[in-house]
């Protein structure tokens, strides 16, 4: 990447010392704090960062359209030799869409729901290329074909809700490329998509870049996507650029500590089963006194107990979907699913959206009912448990949810949240609860002083630790973890996974782990089942499934994981 101070060059976009702040109730908060980089013509530059790094704000500042309260304080954004920040709004409008395309983040909401998709592309063509109505409509169909939408003629006349997420993102890519712009800014273009769809969408974007020679600013949280697609990488953290260079440089020999951490924790790049850290194993003796619910780990793994803590047999669950125009359709969300979870291990179910993995987990945890099949816990049939007996089962099976924002009652203090199960089962008294809450917070590596806070004051990672602490409070034997890390930043993801692995050894826990992310699955699983359309396609030990997949779909999933193009050796 060339130095931005070189003057006129082959760079289509030159950003110099850009600063953006947001006005909030508590004064102005800097979001982008003086970033400088440049984008050479026809090249892909990935801007990588975690949530709150300012990468999305920066990308919106390039086209001068910030969210309410945002303000560009200083710096310049030079596009093809002109400073965009100095242009009048009218001139800026003739650049947006015509010379700079933008691919937004969320395909489900980024298209006008009441406008046919063909028209949404044609609107741009009429505006900038001055095509008449019929010519624009015909051109829109060509563009839909170009972005890989089959039957484009019919699709153009459809509304967004009639298209799948992947197709909608293709339409948005078509809008961005409609007027053959010199630059396209893509803000997390695939982070809402399934991994196999992500790959196809990124492939067709690559194709457009090659054909039109477009330069791209690819904003992503996923270092692996950057590794696969970008020529240059810019790493952002807390509003600043901490490192930039060619993709190979940045990923194979990162110099900045933050980049190193990011490269290490990216699950897609290179990962293995996490091993318990030594420190927690040593701290084991102090647990017995506090957690009255727990028995000794040695007792758990021996004695007259079933070897499989959980077994499900031939589960079936169907949903009836009501069509808006009348009529209905039966969906087999879970279709003859059987598996067993050996005591003290992690069994993972991996699948894309709609695969039925979450429904399966909910049935196994007895949150939802099944239409057929049975669930055995510790050798006992729990399929039909009801009332108080089912409630007592909760002492042995606990659940951690995907969304750490939704699963904690916003009105409760952290201490009340964590000790809620103790109150429900009348374990200990009030003063005891305070001590337990603080001890549990320490166990999930949180500051015990957080006990008095409310969930809104905590970060996503901290909340998920609280949810784990709550699940541990009554000493369960098994925890069902439904996508517990997918709402979190990658560096936080790894910390939570490490915590889970440590706790598993410390308390002899068994996990049923649900994820769409094979990278995460690899880090935590002993056994893996691959699900699609309600069926288990393949089931085996983690190493077998991940290194020697038998089913074509499993191979497809593995190949779709980004970050395979560069053999990475994370710097240590």
């Amino acid at each position: 990447m060339s130095n931005p101070m070189d003057g006129p060059s082959d760079d289509i976009l030159v950003v110099r010392d850009l600063q953006v702040t947001y006005a909030t109730r508590n004064g102005s908060v800097p979001a982008v704090r003086g970033i400088s980089f440049s984008v050479p013509r026809g090249k892909i530059v990935a801007v990588v960062g975690e949530s709150g790094s300012g990468k999305s704000t920066a990308s919106q500042a390039f086209i001068r359209r910030l969210a309410e309260g945002g303000k560009i304080d200083s710096g310049s954004v030079e596009f093809a030799g002109r400073d965009l920040l100095a242009l009048p709004e009218r001139a800026m409008r003739s650049i947006r869409g015509a010379q700079i395309g933008f691919v937004p983040q969320d395909p489900s909401k980024s298209l006008n729901p009441l406008m046919r998709v063909g028209e949404q592309i044609a609107e741009s063509l009429r505006l900038h290329k001055k095509l008449n109505r019929s010519a624009a409509a015909a051109e829109a169909i060509k563009i839909l074909e170009e972005v890989g939408i089959q039957d484009a003629d019919a699709r153009a006349r459809q509304y967004p809700h009639e298209l799948s997420g992947g197709m909608r993102q293709r339409v948005l890519i078509g809008i961005a490329w409609a007027c053959s712009p010199q630059l396209v800014i893509a803000d997390e273009p695939t982070s809402a998509l399934d991994v196999t769809v992500q790959r196809q969408v990124l492939d067709s974007m690559d194709e457009l870049v090659r054909r039109h020679g477009t330069a791209v600013v690819l904003v992503t949280h996923d270092l692996a996507v950057a590794a696969d697609r970008a020529d240059f990488v810019v790493v952002m953290s807390e509003g600043q650029i901490v490192e930039q260079g060619t993709t190979l440089q940045v990923l194979t020999s990162p110099t900045h500590a933050y980049t190193k951490k990011l490269v290490e924790s990216a699950p897609g790049l290179s990962s293995a089963r996490l091993v318990p850290s030594v420190s927690t194993q040593e701290s084991q003796p102090n647990t017995g006194s506090l957690f009255t619910g727990f028995q000794k780990q040695s007792d758990r793994l021996s004695g007259e107990r079933a070897t499989n803590i959980l077994e499900v047999r031939n589960l079936v669950k169907t949903f009836t979907l009501q069509r808006s125009g009348g009529g209905s359709q039966v969906l087999r969300a879970v279709d003859d699913v059987s598996f067993s979870v050996p005591r003290g291990s992690t069994f993972s179910i991996v699948g894309e959206s709609g695969s039925g993995k979450t429904t399966t987990a909910r049935i196994a945890a007895r949150i939802a009912g099944a239409d057929a099949g049975s669930v055995f816990f510790d050798g006992d049939d729990i399929t039909a448990l009801k009332g108080e007996k089912l409630r007592q089962l909760r002492r042995r099976i606990q659940v951690v949810y995907q969304n750490p924002f939704g699963s904690l009652d916003p009105k409760m203090s952290i201490e009340r949240i964590i000790t809620e199960p103790l109150r429900a089962f009348r374990i200990g008294d009030r003063s005891h609860h305070g001590t337990v809450a603080r001890e549990l917070l320490e166990h999930v590596q949180l500051n015990p002083d957080l006990a008095t806070r409310r969930p809104a004051e905590l970060s996503g990672g901290q909340r998920q630790r609280v949810a784990i602490a709550r699940a541990l409070a009554i000493g369960p034997e098994m925890i069902v973890l439904d996508e517990p890390v997918s709402a979190l930043d990658v560096s936080v993801q790894e910390q939570i996974l490490q915590l889970l692995v440590d706790l598993q050894v410390e308390f002899g826990l068994s996990y049923l782990f649900i994820s769409h992310d094979l990278g995460v699955i690899r880090q935590i699983s002993d056994h893996v089942a691959v699900m699609r359309f309600g069926k288990i396609l393949e089931l085996g030990t983690a190493s077998d499934i991940l290194s020697n997949p038998q089913h074509a779909y499993t191979r497809e999933l593995l190949e779709a994981i980004p970050g395979r193009s560069i053999a990475l050796t994370p710097g240590t």
Partner: protein, 265 residues
């Protein structure tokens, strides 16, 4: 506090404080006897002596407004209580029970909403007779439908929140979930709506007293004052307009505070 830096909010609080004083100790604010007529001082324009002027009997309109505060607001406040109690109970029950019972109850609530509150109040007034209490019952009944709907949707919404499901999987019993999770989280929108309804109820009650369904004549209810002044609107417009402006200001203040409770900035 940040709120105190907003002039609109501060002004509203002052208005409400004055209204409270006028309700409980009207003689502190009134300058004349609300019923005492001075034949020589008929139809006087507003002045420092008679702030709102005098009516056709020579009574001080300002003092009548002050003394009418308690009566005018009593019906409105009672109406809100009736609406909240009936509505919230129906909504809570319907939302919590769910299923077919919920469906049937909500269809009837739909009807309660379909019939305009004023008409519903008129039916009650026509059946029970005129007066502040039948006004309160009528207006309250008219509001009960919306309260039921809001309460129910809150209950349904919260019941589907992940933290409620999480509580269930933690082994928390049903009643404890209702007390610890559903009610605390449902309370705020319902309280905010009750506050907003107070403004609506003041308007409805004053409209009904304007039409002549309130307490019998000498009582200085706000709506009745406007109605009395209306006969002289071509010659003495302030007679009816100033009491009307008082109602407007009080409702604006109440609504402003209600929106703040509801979480609007």
């Amino acid at each position: 506090m940040r709120l105190l830096r907003q002039p609109g909010f501060v002004l509203s609080i002052i208005v409400i404080a004055v209204v409270i004083v006028a309700s409980f100790a009207p003689s502190l604010l009134a300058t004349h006897d609300p019923y005492g007529s001075v034949a020589a001082d008929r139809f006087l324009p507003p002045s420092t002596e008679y702030l709102f002027g005098t009516d056709h009997l020579g009574r001080d309109v300002y003092s009548r407004v002050v003394h009418g505060t308690a009566l005018s607001l009593l019906s409105a406040a009672l109406a809100v209580v009736v609406g909240v109690v009936i509505g919230a109970l129906i909504g809570l029950f319907s939302g919590f029970v769910g299923g077919r019972i919920d469906f049937v109850i909500m269809r009837f609530v739909d009807v309660l909403i379909a019939v305009p509150g004023v008409l519903l109040a008129l039916i009650v007034v026509a059946s029970l007779g005129f007066g502040p209490f039948s006004l309160a019952l009528g207006v309250g009944l008219g509001a009960a439908g919306s309260f039921a709907r809001v309460m129910r949707s809150q209950v349904l919404h919260i019941r589907n929140e992940e933290y409620v499901e999480a509580a269930r999987t933690l082994g928390v019993r049903g009643p404890a979930i209702l007390m610890n999770h559903v009610l605390p989280n449902a309370a705020r929108p319902v309280i905010a709506m009750a506050a907003l309804e107070l403004g609506t109820a003041i308007l409805a009650v004053s409209a009904l007293t304007f039409l002549g369904f309130g307490a019998p004549p000498p009582a200085p209810e706000w709506g009745a004052l406007v109605a009395a002044g209306r006969n002289f609107v071509s010659t003495n417009p302030t007679l009816s307009i100033l009491p009307g402006v008082v109602i407007l200001v009080v409702v604006l203040a109440v609504n402003r505070v209600a929106r703040t409770i509801g979480g609007e900035k």
